[in-house]
Amino acid sequence: MSVSAEVPAGTEAVKETRGRRRNKAPLSEGARAERRFGWLLCAPAVIVMIAVTAYPLVYAIYLSLERYNLELPQAIKFIGFSNYAAVLSSPYWWQALKVTVVITVVSVVVTLVLGMGLAQIMHRTLFGRGSVRTAALIPYGIVTVAAAYGWQYAWTPGQGYLSAAFNYSAPLTQEWKAIAVIILAEIWKTTPFMGLLLLAGLSLVPEDLIKAAKVDGATAWQRFTKITLPLMKPAILVALLFRTLDSFRIFDNIFILTDGANNTGSVSMLGYDNLFNALNLGIGSTISILIFICVAIIAFVFIRLFGTAAPGTDIDKR
């Protein structure tokens, strides 16, 4: 999806260089040195990123076409798309996908609403602004695993304050209640990030416009839906894209809270289990590739259908 987003800008850059070239005949020595220096500076970053992502991804595609179980090293064999058929016809995959989608949709929607409220609070508040931001950054920064243990114990009957407050219930032992706890932990952790991204968008809304609308008699709700929201749309879409992709990868919270028990595993949990419990590299890689495809589809939908600006693509235009 970034390819589509970056082609127009890329062509522009090429045109720019060509334009310069026409003015100054061939590239001047200085311009050529600048180019070489630019490439040189980018090289280490590019090499590391390709080595760690592109190469393993290609290797995963190859592994996904093999029967490859670490327990049966002599039985490694090329089997085409059989792994994909096995995964896509397995109820475990669809169950994990369902759980992942439910967690993603619910947590992203709730986080958006709460994040908008948090952004308003951080934006409007005159007194104690620093303390709110500092407090909000704690859930963002805290190690997910550490927070997850806190939630787990809080919901353990007999020892947790939340369990005690809710009639000594044990939500982590039931599928949908456990998913609700997982979603709660996700929301607590990610609302501050959403709030901060939306705050940045909110500060771009001109104060004069809001005041003018107020003078014209617009209610607070009208001002929010007719002025603030449309102007914040780009920021909201970028924040939603980031949060959705991040939420779709959910792993840490589930691993600690339920370890996937009672059908609460996400697709990432399924991939992990197939590698480290079943020691099946072929199936594990197939799940990896399928997750990658899901993420690509989500990003494509956001960027193409909703028109989310891919962050960073407008660098040259400024």
Binding site: G38, A60, G117, V143, A200, L275, P311
Partner: protein, 279 residues
């Protein structure tokens, strides 16, 4: 008169909202800290504030290598990854912000792709590659993926910061006869230092938090990081659930985050928002 009342009421409203936010953010953390100070008997009492306090859980985790060694690994791996990622990202971000060269958009696009990359998609192939290269269960085995995933964050944040630096200073340095490299090292780097500190904090927090790679590419305390080590804790007896020690360990790894957040709140907010949302 009415207007005055509204603003006063609004002030009370926003202040109340502030307190609600602060309480919601802190209660789960305070709960974890409270658990870590409870005696084994008091663990089975759901009260929020411990009736009897003890340092026993901390004594237990800090006296065994089950936690101390992973804590050292976490600090070492986090610092090394951060330094490498910030250096590489600074170089690339400088090029993106200041130089004209084809392929710039490709770099941005690639960073974006990696920022969105599902980490699990790399775990299976990387596991096999790391075993083949002898990187499995070593520090570099974690440092390399951490650098790769810290880089997109660094490139974004730093190119946003670098664009704010006045161009003219670099030009002036070049007029005075400095090479592009000298202009970078002598003029821009010192101005860029605040942005680099911010980026370093964000990258370190990412490494400190990371869990999936940490449990996938390690097998002993030789390289296991602190978050990954917690699940290997045992209770005081075979049958005791190690709630106290786990809470203590979780509290210990939260302390650096709280220090960062308290001292660098402005920088972290600026860093998070500058890279991600502009325009």
């Amino acid at each position: 008169m009415a207007a005055v009342n509204t603003t006063a009421r609004q002030k009370v409203g926003w202040t109340t909202a502030n307190f609600v936010v602060i309480a919601l953010a802190l209660i789960p953390v305070l709960w974890l800290a409270s658990l870590s100070f409870k005696t084994p008997a008091a663990i089975l009492d759901p009260s929020f504030i411990p009736h009897s306090w003890t340092w026993g859980n901390y004594d237990q985790i800090l006296s065994t290598s089950t936690f101390v060694r992973p804590l050292i690994n976490s600090i070492g791996i986090g610092l090394i990854s951060t330094v490498i990622a910030v250096v590489f990202a600074s170089m690339a971000a400088y090029a993106v912000a200041r130089l004209r060269f084809p392929g710039k958009q490709l770099l941005i696009g690639m960073s974006l792709l990696i920022a969105m990359f599902p980490a699990i998609a790399l775990v299976t192939p990387m596991f096999n590659i790391e075993r083949a290269l002898g990187l499995y269960n070593t520090w570099p085995g974690l440092i390399i993926p951490y650098v790769a995933f810290g880089l997109p964050l660094g490139v974004y944040t730093l190119s946003a910061f670098f664009r704010e630096i006045p161009w003219e200073l670099e030009k002036a340095a070049k007029v005075d006869g400095a090479t592009p490299m000298q202009a970078f090292m002598r003029v821009i780097a010192p101005l860029a230092a605040p942005g680099m500190v911010t980026t370093a904090i964000l990258v370190f927090m990412f490494c400190w938090n990371e869990f999936l790679f940490a449990i996938s590419f390690t097998s002993t305390t030789a390289s296991r990081t602190a978050p990954a080590s917690i699940e290997f804790f045992s209770g005081s007896s075979q049958f005791a659930v190690p709630t106290g020690p786990i809470s203590a360990a979780a509290t210990v790894i939260t302390i650096p985050i709280i220090i960062f957040v308290v001292f660098f709140q402005r920088r972290i907010v600026a860093g998070l928002t500058s890279g991600a949302v502009k325009g």
